[in-house]
């Protein structure tokens, strides 16, 4: 650790006092161990977010920024209806995706936690295996499934069930929801599974012993106790989905656009970085607000059930 070395040990000297402080303060030693990581995160997180915020108050002029404080971007955001409209639509769609994904994932997690006796690990691996393909390709897989000449349509046509392809399958919000529900499946299953696994089985037996049938035991014991996992899964799905632009651009079509696409175009073709920054800030604030509401709601739910 520290060596009794050539460093000055004159009692009054600054270095001596510093060394003593370093040895004495566990906090200080811990932080110095943490410092490379902390430094990286500060540079990579705190600074960019501050810069983002700053940029949102500037204005784009041709290829440069006017670096004076202005609220124009935020005014644009609220006054031009398209931005708020699409932001709310994105929130709604993400909410839809979260609900669908979690609802579909829960019974699967429940099955592995409660019905599988041996080789739970195999099941978990089975679940995660499809996610070893590239995310882009998974989204693309749905595009080829749902497309006009895609797998479903051409398959049904070949089988003679359809004469004309179905047009409504692709390029709409529903396609986005299905695709994302598939893409996030593993992310939703794992936290719920962990939470269900932790439940002490004797609690369920106690509930049966006290007179509740299987369904009510689930409602009154299993579900509330698995809530932390459900919350974690919901957040893990909701937050990244709000900003997603890959899926909407591949399967969403013009009707399925989300706020992520708008932000991306601001930094791409539309070339209005400050406005993009302002939209990003507003999106983050809205998402944070939604998350707080969600957590507050579930907290109240838990209190009422308990």
């Amino acid at each position: 650790m520290t060596s009794n070395s050539h460093v000055s040990t004159l009692p009054g000297s600054f270095i001596f006092r510093l060394r003593r402080l370093y040895i004495k303060s566990e906090s200080l030693r811990g932080y110095s161990l943490l410092s490379p990581t902390l430094l990286a995160m500060l540079v990579g997180l705190a600074m960019p977010l501050i810069v983002l915020l700053t940029l949102s108050f500037w204005i784009q002029e041709y290829l440069d920024f006017i670096r004076t404080f202005s609220l124009k971007n935020y005014l644009d955001f609220f006054q031009k209806p398209i931005y708020t409209k699409i932001l709310f639509k994105s929130i709604r769609m993400s909410g839809m995706v979260t609900i669908v994904t979690v609802l579909l994932a829960y019974p699967m997690a429940y099955y592995i936690a409660f019905r599988v006796k041996h080789n739970k690990l195999i099941w978990l691996i089975l679940i995660t295996v499809p996610f070893w393909t590239s995310y882009l390709l998974r989204v693309f897989a749905w595009k080829i499934m749902l497309g006009y000449n895609g797998v479903i349509n051409s398959g049904l046509k070949t089988l003679g069930i359809l004469s004309e392809p179905l047009e409504f399958l692709l390029y709409n919000p529903a396609a986005v929801v299905i695709t994302l529900a598939h893409a996030w499946a593993a992310f939703a299953i794992l936290p719920i599974y962990v939470s269900l696994e932790k439940i002490d089985r004797s609690l369920l037996e106690a509930s049966r012993d006290l007179g509740e049938n299987t369904f009510m035991t689930f409602m009154r014991v299993t579900l509330p106790l698995s809530l932390p996992g459900v919350i974690a899964a919901s957040l893990l799905v909701f937050i990244p989905t709000v900003g997603d632009y890959v899926t909407p651009s591949l399967v969403g079509g013009p009707r399925g656009i989300m706020i992520g696409n708008i932000i991306q175009s601001m930094f791409g073709k539309a070339q209005n970085w400050p406005l993009g920054a302002a939209i990003s800030v507003m999106s983050m604030l809205t998402v944070t607000l939604m998350v707080c509401l969600f957590l507050w709601g579930t907290h109240n739910f838990r209190k009422r059930v308990a």
Binding site: M1, T2, R20, I23
Partner: protein, 374 residues
């Protein structure tokens, strides 16, 4: 005879604490500890949970740094010296056996910088294995050992380095009763064989009394008293120590007269008593406790002729403990019952006299201890 170094039981101090204090946040864990441990002693830090004994031990090892004051080992001040450079070694409460090495690897762990040749090192390990009576267990892993065996490996690992002091943190806490008693004997023998100073921490007073040459009784960061087990048991200097070690009956009283060699005390239950006191530091009218151990009260069930040094009462609940019996006696003028301990000298299965039986308790004056009361 093995080659582990043996010290003379000389009288110089091996560890000294000078005004050592330490706080964790608002809590003052150690409050001005000031005492010495002699070379070759088996020394115990005894106290209830949270009294600071483990913190004090860890400060000797170097895992906690005092906020103020100085700890010296063999006359070398230790501040600024990290744990790996101190001439002490510790046996941890949960033994801390490295799971990824076998027994030999664990024992040899601290010998990397010893400069010994491989053959010499292996010979030393064999010697140590013999010392802890685990010959043949060299290749075993931690999860193949019982609790008692793991403890011996932890001991061996520390002893092979020939430290000046061996530190033990609640060494026998995790063992069951029989094993604990056996290990107590073995530890004592080991210490005498090896001859180094053992400093250990425990909350179990029976253990402290069995093993130690001297005990430091601690509470809430303060060292209340340091003395031999007999001294602490028969001649405690404070109510806390008297109460903490074993069981004690306390009778409130007031000093009526204090003159050369004799204290006169007036009590409710025991009447007026005269006690020879070596140092009459009690002023007139000072409040005191008169204390007597349960085994020093002799019960009789018929009225004694001589009524001096006798209390009369009525039997309360009793408990049969095999080699002795305990029972409570209710006295008039006293709310709390008196605890009496009686050796079961006769092989009689009859119950002790039932409750509400009249009983007279006799004592002798030299069994009494006078303690300050505030």
């Amino acid at each position: 005879m093995n080659q582990l170094q043996e010290y003379d039981m000389s009288q110089d101090a091996i560890i000294s604490f000078h005004d050592v204090s330490k706080s964790f946040g608002d809590v003052k864990a150690i409050n001005g500890a000031n005492f010495e441990i002699q070379r070759g002693e088996f020394f115990a830090l005894l106290g209830p949970s949270g009294c600071g004994k483990t913190t004090l031990l860890r400060m000797v090892a170097g895992f906690e740094i005092p906020d103020s004051g100085e700890i010296s080992i063999d006359n070398q001040p230790m501040s600024g010296t990290p744990p790996n450079l101190r001439p002490v070694n510790m046996v941890f409460q949960n033994y801390a056996i490295f799971p990824h090495m076998d027994v030999r690897g664990n024992i040899a762990f601290g010998m990397r910088k010893s400069g010994l040749s491989k053959t010499e090192l292996h010979r030393r390990i064999d010697e140590t294995l013999e010392l802890i009576k685990l010959q043949g267990y060299g290749k075993r892993r931690a999860d193949e050992l019982s609790g008692g065996q793991r403890q011996r490996v932890a001991l061996a690992r520390a002893l092979i380095k020939q430290p000046k002091v061996l530190l033990l943190d609640e060494p026998l806490g995790a063992l069951d009763k029989k094993l604990r008693e056996q290990m107590q004997i073995e530890l004592r023998q080991l210490q005498q064989q090896v001859g180094i100073t053992f400093l250990f921490v425990t909350h179990d007073q029976e253990e402290a009394l069995t093993l130690s040459d001297r005990i430091a009784v601690m509470t809430e960061g303060h060292v209340m008293e340091i003395a031999s087990p007999a001294q602490l048991y028969e001649n405690p200097s404070s109510r806390f120590v008297a109460d903490f070690i074993g069981s004690m009956n306390f009778f409130p009283g007031e000093v009526t007269k204090s003159e050369n060699g004799k204290l006169s005390i007036s009590t409710d239950s025991m009447g007026e008593i005269d006690i020879p006191a070596s140092n009459s530091e009690y002023a007139d009218r000072s409040p005191v406790w008169v204390a007597i151990r349960p085994e020093k009260l002799k019960p009789v069930f018929t009225a004694p002729g001589d009524l001096s040094n006798v209390m009369q009462g009525v039997m309360g609940p009793s408990a049969y403990l095999g080699d002795r019996s305990h029972f409570y006696v209710h006295l008039s003028k006293r709310e709390e019952p008196v605890l009496v301990a009686l050796q079961n000298l006769e092989r009689s299965i009859d119950q002790l006299r039932g409750p509400n039986q009249k009983v007279w308790l006799k004592w002798s004056t030299d069994a009494l201890v006078v303690l300050p009361r505030d």
